[in-house]
Structure formats: structure tokens, C-alpha cells
Symmetry: C2
Subunit: 808 residues, 2 copies
């Protein structure tokens, strides 16, 4: 939604309070801009009070000799001289207020549209001032406060400081509120009041923060006689904004011009500087070495990045178009976003924990944010009913390393009586491995990689895959029909021998409990039991843990595994005679410790808080991350049962889990996680997703086993599209596999096919580019948990149109 133009400099004027001279100083700016020969646009989005006193009228009255170059405008006007939300309510009456009062979205769209219009109206350099009402946090028409409502526009700001007693505090607090929303504050303006001398204090305060303070002489006292008043006001403006074009207002004007130019210059240089200094994760720099390949993100809001693409389209660009364009964050910034970028509630959570604690040492320590998070996750979250402990770390990969250390130790301790002498001497067993599924991936640190098969894609010199991985059956929609695809070894065991079987529609496929008696369940059981015997009887490797990404394997290519297979795998491992060397204690894990890697799939990414509710089994260890902090800062939590914890418990320090990152349980991360979970819980309990769920319902009143924000009909139709082999949607995720491409991760087919999505649709002014990631021949799109429905429909429409064969 943000806008930025070469030729049109736009500033939004906020006040540190009401009655601090906001309109007066804005008039001075407008007058100064017009005197320098610019076209000037003044916008008061919302005005309250009698028309004859309206700011947009006042502005032109004192604009001086070039007033004709000024266009003044008000978008919404109310006559009651109170806060806009109250004025609107009183004018519309309580009953119709809800319907008639413009929403924040409408307000912001109207402003944006007006700015675009002004930008198109001239090719010469021009200035625009958007004046707000009251203080920074004065309510808008809808009742939200101005800085939150206007934030999507992300206009650089001028703060008018408060010159009165107490005004230092009002000015600094207003500044801090602006910073909390990420606003660029280019300057402060304030009256030169000589008794309290706030300007003096504030000039030095803001100098430390690299912000100019323009000090302007205060206006003369009001005359009772209107004619005298007019004359003295006129003289005042001639003094502070003289036709000779000197003084503090003109200095400020130059400063604002410089800031504007510098901002554009900085954006212009960012692509090259990035290519020169940054080493991107998961990017082959040899393939993306042009400036146009760099996605410069100037700010973000909701699900949108505001990106600078000046260089990309420089040759063809219409010079009156915005240099910043909206771009939908279609990968939810690597699967982390849940509540929109720059969500003020999460910013405040981060700020209050930083303000109370900074970071504090965690071993042997406790602080409220960490304790509350641990309790929330263990007692009423993903760990409910099985976990007893939470171990907090920094990222999903670290969280999985911790999970592996836990499971391997739990296994080793129980099996100690079977160790060889050599193992006893070394203090630990050799050749431990894990059981898992082909296509799984648990993170980029080497220990986490070692729990995955070396497929030749995600690998490195020290990768040493330790384990055995089954090729699992998968599920997806093909040609409008839900199918289960069986790998050859399993298909061979079925009666038909076919690779694709129909187990019913999606709600039936995910009714795992009900499918346990099916023929396919028998096949899975036989296959797994047979394989377990084979694996455990051959080679040196001792299987010590079962490691699964439940429901979907993300990095491996958004592979939706047949949940029945995962359920039976867990059940089989737990009951298999292959793992029964040592008698287990009551209440402890059986077979092997089971790890659920829910880093991606957990916390409603797939529409459910935890995957165990779908599979019908709980793990012994589980890892959550990504959405955990609502997508603001890194954090991971590894949950474990009491029995796993006990494997490390004793009198010897060396037996403890000697794993700890410096910032373990840092208060900022924990507090942001608590706030995210609080907001998400509110959405879940408040029925925020009921509409989406209803679309996936089989019968009226029934709650679907699985559901998605994506429309089921769209998913069905998409799967019939010629270019698409298979589609799957669940929760916020939509994944589609390109037809007829078996190159996997190395493939660029998905990227090529969908390239058109990256830029906004030409024919639609409200359109936006879509930033998406591909995994070889798989493209996926991911939403937040609060993405507006109309946005989802728009994206579906864009995908649909992009995939239609070009007309001959």
C-alpha cells in the first residue's frame, strides 16, 4: 500500500498533541513549498468542526502570492469539533454508525488513490502534505488510532512538537509511538516558546537521534477584531515564510527534499550493495546476480511487502508511477507469518520484554515470559496430555538437534545393559540411527541433517545420514479427485497392485481412526512390520528413535503423507517386537522414542493446533517453531515427556542435557510467543475461521477433520488444469505440483510457469505482485491466519488465470 514518487515528495504531519500549531506549521510548509515554485498538494483526510474553520480552507488563505499552485482537499468532513470517531458517531447516529462510517481500509484506499491522482497530475517536482487530526494516537473514524490506521501507507512523517508545559513529554512519547510503528520521522517542528524552552531540550534530544528540529516563532496573540487578526496573521506568515525564501521553514524544506532524495538514492543503491556484500541463504548467487534479481523490501504491513522495483522496470516505467509496489508475501516469509507483518501487538510484546528484562541468563533462572510460555505449551498447547517439560531454543534446527539428543539419550540409557565393552568404555553406544520417511527434512544444522536421508539435494560435506527412511504413500487431489499414491513396494502388496487408490474424499482420508480397520491399513501394517524386521536384523545400525514430520513434509516438497501410514508407523514401532530388548518402565515410551517435527506443521499452519489430534497418537518429543512467535523473532521449543527428561536426571553434571544457546529463553522471544498464542487462541475460540471451515464441511453443523482457507472448489478445478499434476490444500497452505516434471528440487518448472504472478495484474488497480517460493517442480502459497478472504480469492483468481494456456 506504500507509495513513493520521484517527483512528488509526500510527508504526513502528526501532532504531539492537539493545539500545538499543526495546521499553522503545515500552512507554513505549504506556503514555503509554493514559494519555491512547486505544485503543492494539501490533504486533510478527515476534518471535524465548522466548515468556515476547516484547515483546508485556512491553508490556502495564508499561502501567499502563489496560492494558485496549491490544491487543498478534504476527504471526510464532520461538523462536530470532537475526535473524528465521536464526530462520525454523532453525525451518523448510533444505529447507522457501524454501516456508514468509513473503515480504515476505505480511508487508506481513498488517501492512496488521491495521492496517485496528484502524482499523475504533474511531471514537475511537487510537494504534498497530509495532515492528521489531533495527536498521533487520536482515533480515526473507525475508532482505531491514526498511526495504526495510516501505517499501510508508510508515508515519511513530520512531528509537530508541543511547546507548552509538559510538552517535552508529549513530544517524546508521540515520537516513540511513531517509532513503534516503524514510521520514518524526518523532522520535528515546534514553536519557539521562551519560558519553558521545550525547543531547546528537544533539539538536543533529537540531535542524538539524527532528527532535525525546526524551531519557528510562535503566532501573534489573537485579536478580537477579525480584520486585525487577518492582518497580523498575514504578517506573521510573511515573517516566518518570507518571499526571500530564507529562515528555518525553508531550511526544513531543503532538509525534507534531501531526505526524500536520499531515501530514493538509498533504495537505488540497495540492489548492487546487496549483491556485493550479502550471502543469501538457499540462493545460487550465480543465477541471481543482476540488480533486478534483488527484492528490496522497504517496509511491510499485513501480508504485504512494500518493494522497490525502480531498477527492474526503469526503462519502461511511467515516471509518475510509485516506486514502491505492494507484493503479497506468498511464502509467509518462509512459513513464519501468522498475524501479519509489523503487527503492533507483537511489537509491543517485544518492547515490553526488552524494557523489563533485556535478555537474562536462563540456566537455574526463571522469568515470567519463559515460564508462561513453557506452561502454555506443556499444559494447554501441543504438549497437553503427554509432555512434562519445555526446552526453549533459538530455531527449528536447534530445536530438532535437542530433540534428537533427548531421544538418543533416552534410548541409550534404557539399552545400557546391552552395550558392548567398547561402548561402555566410550561412555555411549555406537551406530545409533533413526527411522523416518524419505523426503523428510529437519533443518540445516548437521545433526538435524543426519536424521534425514542424503538425497543429494540438501546435503554437505559432513552430512552422514544415520538411519533408515521409508518411501511413504502420499495424498493429493488429481483431476478433481482425492487419491492416495502408493510407492511400488506397497502397491505390490495390495489386491489391485495399482499405484493410485481411492480412499474417499479428503474428510474420509483424514478420518484416521475410522480407517484403521481398512484393507489399506492391513497392507501398511504388514509392510511396516516386515520392513522393521528386515532393517533391525541387518547391518550395524541400531534404530534409536522414530522421527516424523506429521501430515506434511515441507522442505522435501510439500509432500502430504497418508496420515494413516504415519499413524500405523507410530503404532507399529511402539508395539514391534524388534525393539523390545529391554523392559520399559511403566509410563515410559515403548519401542522407540517418537519425535514429531512440528516446526512447520504445528500451531494452526495446517488449521489444527497440533497434528497429533489428526493422527490420533502423541509423540514423546515434539518441536515447535516458526509460527510460535507469530513471525517476528526466532524461537523454538522442544517438548518432552517426563520419561525422556528422567533419562538426563541424576547426581552427575555430565549426565545433564549439556546443550544451551546464549539466548536460550530470551524474554523478547518468549513474550512475543505468548502474545502470538494469546491472539491465535482468541481467533480459534472466537470462530474467526468458521467461514473457511464451513466450505470444507461434509454435512451441516459438522466440524471438518481438516480444512483450509483455500476454497475446495478452486482446489478441485486447479487439479484439473493441464499444467498441474497434483494439488493439496490444508490450513494456510496450497501446494501444486507441475505436471510432467520429475526433476524434483533441481527443476525450475514451477518458477517459470508462475512467473507472471510476481507483478501486479495490469488491468486491476487494487492488484499486487505475489512473492512465492518454489521447491523445484512444486509451487506453494501460504497465508497468515488473518489474511482477508478477498485477498485469498484474488490470489486464487490470479493463480487460475496464470495457469490457463495462452490463447493462440
Amino acid at each position: 500500500m506504500s507509495v513513493l514518487f520521484h517527483h512528488l515528495r509526500v510527508h504526513q504531519v502528526f501532532g504531539a498533541n492537539t493545539d500545538v500549531g499543526k495546521t499553522l506549521l503545515t500552512t507554513a510548509l505549504v506556503r514555503a513549498s509554493s514559494l519555491t515554485g512547486k505544485a503543492v498538494y494539501y490533504l486533510k483526510p478527515v476534518s471535524t468542526g465548522p466548515l468556515q474553520d476547516a484547515d483546508d480552507e485556512y491553508i490556502t488563505r495564508f499561502a501567499g502570492p502563489k496560492a494558485s499552485s496549491i490544491q487543498s482537499r478534504c476527504l471526510f468532513r464532520y461538523s462536530d469539533p470532537v475526535s473524528p470517531h465521536l464526530a462520525a458517531q454523532r453525525e451518523h447516529g448510533a444505529d447507522e454508525a457501524q454501516l456508514s462510517i468509513p473503515s480504515d481500509g476505505t480511508l487508506v484506499k481513498a488517501i492512496r488513490s488521491h495521492i496517485h491522482e496528484c502524482a499523475r497530475a504533474t511531471r514537475e517536482r511537487a510537494h504534498m502534505y497530509v495532515e492528521t487530526a489531533g495527536g498521533v494516537h487520536s482515533p480515526t473514524l473507525s475508532g482505531s488510532t491514526q498511526i495504526d490506521a495510516y501505517r499501510p501507507l508508510f508515508l515519511p512523517t513530520i512531528l509537530v512538537g508541543d511547546h507548552k508545559l509538559g510538552g517535552i513529554s508529549a513530544t517524546i512519547s508521540s515520537y516513540e509511538s511513531l517509532l513503534l510503528r516503524g514510521y520514518i520521522v524526518d523532522a520535528v517542528m515546534i514553536f519557539r516558546e521562551e519560558y519553558y524552552r521545550n525547543w531547546e531540550y528537544l533539539r538536543s534530544y533529537f540531535a542524538e537521534r539524527d532528527i532535525n528540529v525546526a524551531v519557528v516563532d510562535p503566532p501573534p496573540p489573537k485579536h478580537a477584531d477579525p480584520a486585525l487578526n487577518l492582518a497580523s496573521t498575514d504578517e506573521y506568515y510573511q515573517n516566518i515564510v518570507p518571499e526571500a525564501q530564507n529562515g528555518s521553514v525553508f531550511d526544513l524544506l531543503n532538509h525534507l527534499d534531501d531526505r526524500h532524495a536520499n531515501r530514493i538514492e538509498e533504495l537505488n543503491t540497495m540492489p548492487k550493495r546487496t549483491l556485493d556484500t550479502v550471502w543469501w541463504p538457499f540462493v545460487q548467487h550465480g543465477l541471481f546476480k543482476e540488480e533486478k534479481d534483488v527484492n528490496v523490501i522497504d517496509s511491510a504491513s499485513g501480508d504485504e511487502f512494500s518493494v522497490f522495483n525502480g531498477r527492474r522496470t526503469q526503462a519502461s516505467v511511467d515516471s509518475t508511477k510509485s516506486l514502491l509496489e505492494p507484493q503479497f508475501d506468498g511464502s509467509a516469509s518462509w512459513w513464519t507469518q501468522a498475524l501479519g507483518h509489523a503487527n503492533p501487538a507483537l511489537t509491543m510484546a517485544a518492547a515490553r520484554a526488552a524494557g523489563r528484562y533485556g535478555h537474562v541468563m536462563f540456566p537455574q533462572g526463571s522469568h515470567l515470559p519463559a515460564l508462561k510460555l513453557a506452561e502454555r505449551l506443556v499444559k494447554s498447547g501441543p504438549g497437553k496430555g503427554w509432555a512434562s517439560r519445555a526446552y526453549i531454543s533459538d530455531n527449528g534446527s536447534s530445536g530438532m538437534e535437542i530433540a534428537l539428543k533427548m531421544a538418543l539419550r533416552a534410548y541409550a540409557v534404557r539399552e545400557r545393559e546391552h552395550w558392548t565393552n567398547e561402548e561402555l568404555a566410550q561412555g555411549r553406544p555406537k551406530n545409533l540411527g533413526v527411522l523416518g520417511l524419505k523426503g523428510s527434512y529437519h533443518g540445516d544444522t548437521i545433526g538435524a541433517m543426519d536424521a534425514c536421508e542424503d538425497s543429494g539435494v540438501y546435503t554437505c560435506e559432513w552430512h552422514d545420514a544415520k538411519g533408515y527412511w521409508f518411501d511413504p504413500p502420499t495424498v493429493g487431489v488429481r483431476d478433481g479427485r482425492m487419491v492416495v499414491s502408493l510407492p511400488p513396494a506397497i502397491a505390490a502388496l495390495t489386491e489391485s497392485g495399482e499405484a493410485e487408490v481411492n480412499e474417499g474424499p479428503i474428510q474420509v482420508v483424514y478420518s484416521v481412526e475410522e480407517r484403521l480397520d481398512s484393507d489399506l491399513a492391513e497392507v501398511y501394517r504388514a509392510f511396516i512390520q516386515d520392513m522393521l524386521v528386515k532393517i533391525t536384523s541387518q547391518g550395524d545400525l541400531k534404530l534409536a528413535a522414530l522421527v516424523l514430520e506429521p501430515i506434511v513434509m515441507g522442505a522435501g516438497g510439500m509432500i502430504f503423507v497418508d496420515p494413516l501410514f504415519q499413524r500405523i508407523l507410530v503404532d507399529s514401532v511402539r508395539s514391534s517386537p524388534c525393539f523390545s530388548k529391554t523392559v520399559r518402565r511403566e509410563g515410559s515410551w515403548s519401542g522407540l522414542p517418537v519425535i514429531f517435527d512440528e516446526v512447520f506443521a504445528g500451531l494452526y499452519r495446517l488449521g489444527m493446533e497440533r497434528t497429533s489430534d489428526v493422527l490420533g497418537v502423541t509423540p514423546d518429543v515434539a518441536v515447535n517453531a516458526k509460527i510460535l512467535t507469530g513471525g517476528l523473532v526466532p524461537l523454538a521449543v522442544t517438548l518432552a515427556t517426563q520419561s525422556v527428561f528422567d533419562a538426563f536426571y541424576g547426581a552427575d553434571k555430565a549426565d545433564a542435557l549439556l546443550h544451551g544457546h546464549s539466548y536460550t529463553a530470551y524474554p523478547v522471544g518468549c513474550e512475543v510467543a505468548n502474545e502470538s498464542l494469546r491472539i491465535i487462541d482468541g481467533m480459534a475460540k472466537g470462530g474467526a475461521w468458521d467461514e473457511a471451515k464451513a466450505a470444507w464441511r461434509v454435512a451441516e453443523g459438522e466440524s471438518p477433520k481438516v480444512w483450509s482457507f483455500w476454497d475446495p472448489d478452486f482446489v478441485g478445478e486447479l487439479s484439473k488444469s493441464e499444467a498441474v499434476g497434483e494439488v493439496m490444500a490444508m490450513g494456510t497452505v496450497l501446494a501444486l505440483k507441475i505436471a510432467g516434471d520429475s526433476q524434483g528440487y533441481q527443476s525450475h518448472s514451477a518458477q517459470k510457469l508462475l512467473e507472471g504472478l510476481r507483478v501486479a495484474a495490469e488491468d486491476d488497480e487494487s492488484s499486487f505482485g505475489i512473492n512465492y517460493r518454489t521447491l523445484g517442480n512444486v509451487a506453494y502459497f501460504m497465508l497468515s491466519l488473518n489474511t482477508p478472504t478477498e485477498t485469498v480469492r484474488h490470489i486464487e483468481d490470479r493463480i487460475w488465470r496464470t495457469l490457463q494456456p495462452a490463447e493462440a
Copy 2:
């Protein structure tokens, strides 16, 4: 500095603006408290304006029938009715102002002392109200703003909202400023003004944030006649705070009592809840299972935690003592702190990045915080002169995994022509290992562990040490003398054959360049070259990188390695014929890629920005973390040369560095790092450490090679202490090895010996407990880069006294 009492509830009253009824509403609270029969303390720390109008006088005038139970007090009084900083300046005159105006420290100490006094004065339940001046950000006497100055006291607050036009904004902004400092806001009070109805809006706004809003009828208009005025004011107070003890002020009183009780109850339950749910890093829970073992951190400020130790000392505690005690963060919260806990500049940095971006996807992307950080580190920081790229990740361990992946690949690519057929088929070479030093440790993820020797301490089931590790010579102060301790294999090569050699005082030992021609250098060179031949000619392992913690090996036990040895090791590896199978390209690494793990040692932890300036050689890859964010949030950066980057560059996606964490280069982390580096640069350039440096100077005017905040004489004397085997100090670090204990990490000797430091000195009111960590028989103490000198002296004194043998 924070205080909390069972019997004495203390609240600090802040105003959203001046003239919002702060004193009037505080008077109402005081009156209400006294009517409920409590002893009431009113404190106005700083008062300006004529004495007859002073708040502390006013308070008792209208306190009602129980005014005798009220003690009213003002600590600093100035007659000019302007902001305190201005009043103080005007009263003292510009010249003597600097000397005469109380500092924030003095102010806070005076308040704290007064609160303690009041707490001691009664054992009955009592209330105390501390009223601030003006708005939240009004300047104090020193010129800093109130919420920053008072923050160390961390008193729970009441915010008096602004009922005037614009007051919604002023109230919300003030609230946000309070939150940015972590303050607990227990309630908002505001006048019931019926035209603008701010109270209505704010009540619903704060209800969403779980904060009570007490709405109180506004005072009657002022009479010109003082007698009438007195009567009407008196009647007003009788109405809003009736003797019948009902109405909104009494409701608020009950609410404040509840909050106070809940806070104590929460602190009381935290130890048990923590023991029940949390899995601590690096802690043997079997050894710390009592409530007293849990260090409950209520808040932190500067270098101090404010800890709740109620349970620990419950039996013996004097019930009038504070439940919260100051505790020096003696491990700098696992080596992360540099600028004090809850530093407002870092909070603001976190907030503005969160407000502008949230987190945004980094692959192929760019945003200012990340780009600026990369440029700062590559071009003018630790990477200056050698690095070309910055790879950003989440923690030191991840950063080291990335460093290892880089170095191993760089090696493998160059050696490709020598791969076996099997290796070619697998796509990578086998049996790569690293060269390092015994005692090194690079983090807890398994790949980072694999770069360290398996010493049996930091290990796990999948640890598979890949490499060879030299036993290095170390340096330290013994019996007042700097000595170099040689391992037997090296001692045997010297002329004397002795294990301890004298290479001169510390400045000489760290003059690495000058020592390159010494006899000992020759011995090191011969030893290393000989060993390299031996290692490379035996076994399957191919050495692919040299990995060092330069200067000091932290987790291994604060082992200060002889810098000459590390220098010669790097030189030898780079020039050794053992590693010259393939011809290197101009400008590329020679011998082996060299990794410097500066996670702990870098960024002034040891007094120098980077260790390469002391060693006189730069690495090919280096990792920074910990101090990087000033100690607020996790972040790591791996720096690399162009030649290492080029090893991943090409046309094939699979050749890229396929490593990336979800929150790679998250804006909050990068912006906090930029702000930390900006502040630290300012300190370095502004000579903030000149006094400490001077103490370590050999000659007047000379800059010492190495220096420390710890006093060199103290270090010398400490090393002569009977209980101490060896001491070393550098930068912020002081390490001491307990004499006659060879148990290493498993030992508890250091912990036992220094246990007395954990609680404050009995005989000193300004004393504090010291939270320190030990590494077996090694204890260490770590400062921030801005720890006040008097604090350092106090800690030295405490350590000194604790280590003196108990008198018979």
C-alpha cells in the same frame, strides 16, 4: 535496585500530561488509603514551584479525618514552576549547575532509601504513592527523562490519563512509553469529562490490555474566594472518596491491593512452577531441585538482575525487608551483555524494526537493517581488509555450522581433482576433518561439536569428532607473574625442558609480531611442522580447515592460549607443504581455510574489536555473535572471503550454500545489532575506556596491546592468593583457576569456594549479590562495556575478601 514489600504496597503515579489532575487523584488515593486505616506514605521526589502550592502540602490538607496517618515528603524542592531540569539549572545558575544538581543515581538512591525507611517504620499493611512531575517523559533534575531515570526502582505504576481534547492520544502514547521501559501498569485514572468522553474510549482500549481504568468525577471550578474554594474542594473529596468507603477510588484501591498480592503470589509460585515445567540448559536438574535453587528474575536494569529470594530466606527474613534484591549479572548472561540490561536504545531499535518490517523473507531479498549490518561487519568491522560477504544466522552454533560448511566446501572444491572414484560418485569427499586445539568448543549443535575433540564432557550420542587437536601452551598470572605454560610435548623441545616459562609481562607476551623471532617461536614452529607431517601422513582423515577460538577458549574453561602459538599455527598451516596438493588461485586461501570462532572473544569482549589485530593474521571465515546484539536478541554473522564465496558460485542451484534459517537476517535482530555497534563505536572512539586502559599501560602515552576493566594490581595480588592457582584478565573477563584441583569441568570447587558472593555483603547497604557461573575448577566474572568503575572495584573487593582464608 528494585524493591517490593509484603506489607508496604508502593505505586508510582505518572501523568499522561501536565495538568491532568495527577496530584488531585493521588490525593484521592492517599485519602482513600488512610480511610481504610492504613499508614500512608506520600513521596514527591522532586517538586517545583512555590512552597505554598507544593503537592506534599496539598496532599495532607485534603486527606480527611485520618490525615494524621499520612506522612508526606519531598526530597528535592525548587521554587521555579518549570520543568525540574530547568528549575534546577535556574536555581543553581549555569556555572555550578553541573556540580550541584543531583544525578539520576543520587535521586534513585534517595528514593530507595526513603522507601526502605518507610518499610522499616511499620509492620502493618501500608500504602505508598510516589508522584512524578509532569508527563512520563518530563525531564528530571539531571535532564534525562523520568521514566528512564526511575526505571531501576521498577515500581508498579498508575497512569493518570488526559481527559482533554487530544488526551486519548497523550494517554496511549504515555502508556506505550511506559511499556517500552517494561513498567508494570496496574491502572489508569482519568476524570469523567462528558464532552470528549476520553474515559469511554480509553476504558475499552485498556480493557483489551487487561488494565483497569478508574473514572473519577472532575473537580468543581475554582472559586476566586479562597475560603469558598477550600470548602468546595473539601466537599469534592468527600464525594469522590467518601467516608463510607465506596465508589471508583475505593474500587481502584482494592484492585491495586489485589495486583500487589497477585504479584507476590506469582513470585512465590514461580520456583515450583519452574521446577515442574522448565528444562534448563546445561543444568543437572538432579542437583538443583529445591525452590531455593531457582533464581527468579523479576526485572533487570544495568548489570543487575532484580531477584526474588523470598522462599530462599523465608524463615529468617525480616518481614520489613524487600522481597527483591539486586544481583550483579556476573556472567554477563552467558557472555552476551555489553550495554546493560533493558537498555532503552536497544529496545527502541527492536521496536522500530518490528514496527517497520516485522520479519521479512531474506533469500533474494534486501532490507536496510540487514544490508547495513552486513556492510558494517564486512567493510569497517571484524571483516575489514579480508572479508567480502556476510552470512547472517541465529546463534553462534548455527554460525559455526555455516562456517564449517563454507570451509569444507572451499577445501573440497579445490581438491576435487584428487577425489577417488567413490567420492566422485557420491558427489563429495569423505573423511574430512579439522585441525584445532584441545579445549576448544564451538557450540552445541552436533556439526559444531564434531569440530571439537570429544573430551567426554560436552558430548552426545551422535558426537563424532572429526579432526586433530593440538594441546596448546597457555598463558596466565601465577604468583603475581605472567607465565607461559607449555604442554609436555612442547616443553621437551625447549632448552630448559621446563613446563613454565617466563616470556615477560603481559604486554610483551601479547606483542606477537615482536615474539616471532624468539626461541620459543622456533620451538612452536618446529613442533607444529613436525606434527602436521605426522597427522597428514597417517590415517584416512583429510584435514580440510583450521578452526580456532583466537586468544581464549571460553567454554573449555577460559583457557588463554599463548597468542604466539596460534599465530604460528596459522602461519604454518598456510605455508605447510602438507596441504599443497592443488595449486591455489591468486588471492585465495593457502594451506587450509582458517576459521576464527570469535563468537565469545569478538566485538570488544576482550577489549579489542577483533582478535586478528592481536594475532597479526586474518582468517578466511569468522563468526561473531553474543555481543553482536548488545545482549538483547539472538543473532550470528559468518564472514567469508571472496574465494570461499566463489566455491559455492555457479550455475547449479545444488552448488549453493543450501543453509538458511526461517528468521535469517530478521530485521529486529539486525537493527538491534546496528544500534549496539553504533553505541559501542561511540564508546571506543569517545575514549570511554581510557581510564581502564591507562592502568595497563607500560609507558605514559602508549596504548597497551591488551587491557582490562579489572585492575592489574588486583589481578596480581589475586594470583598470589592461596586458594587460587592462576588468574587471567582481559577486557571484561576475569578468570581464576582454583588451586590444586585437577577435576576440570566435573569439579564443583570454584562454585563452593565463591558461594559467599551470591548474597549481598551484610555490612554494606549498597552491596548486591553476584550471580556467577563456573566451569568446573574455573570461576569467571564478566562485565559489560559500560559497567561503572566503582562497581568493578566493589566486585574485586568482594572476591578478594571471599577468598581470604577464614580466621581461626
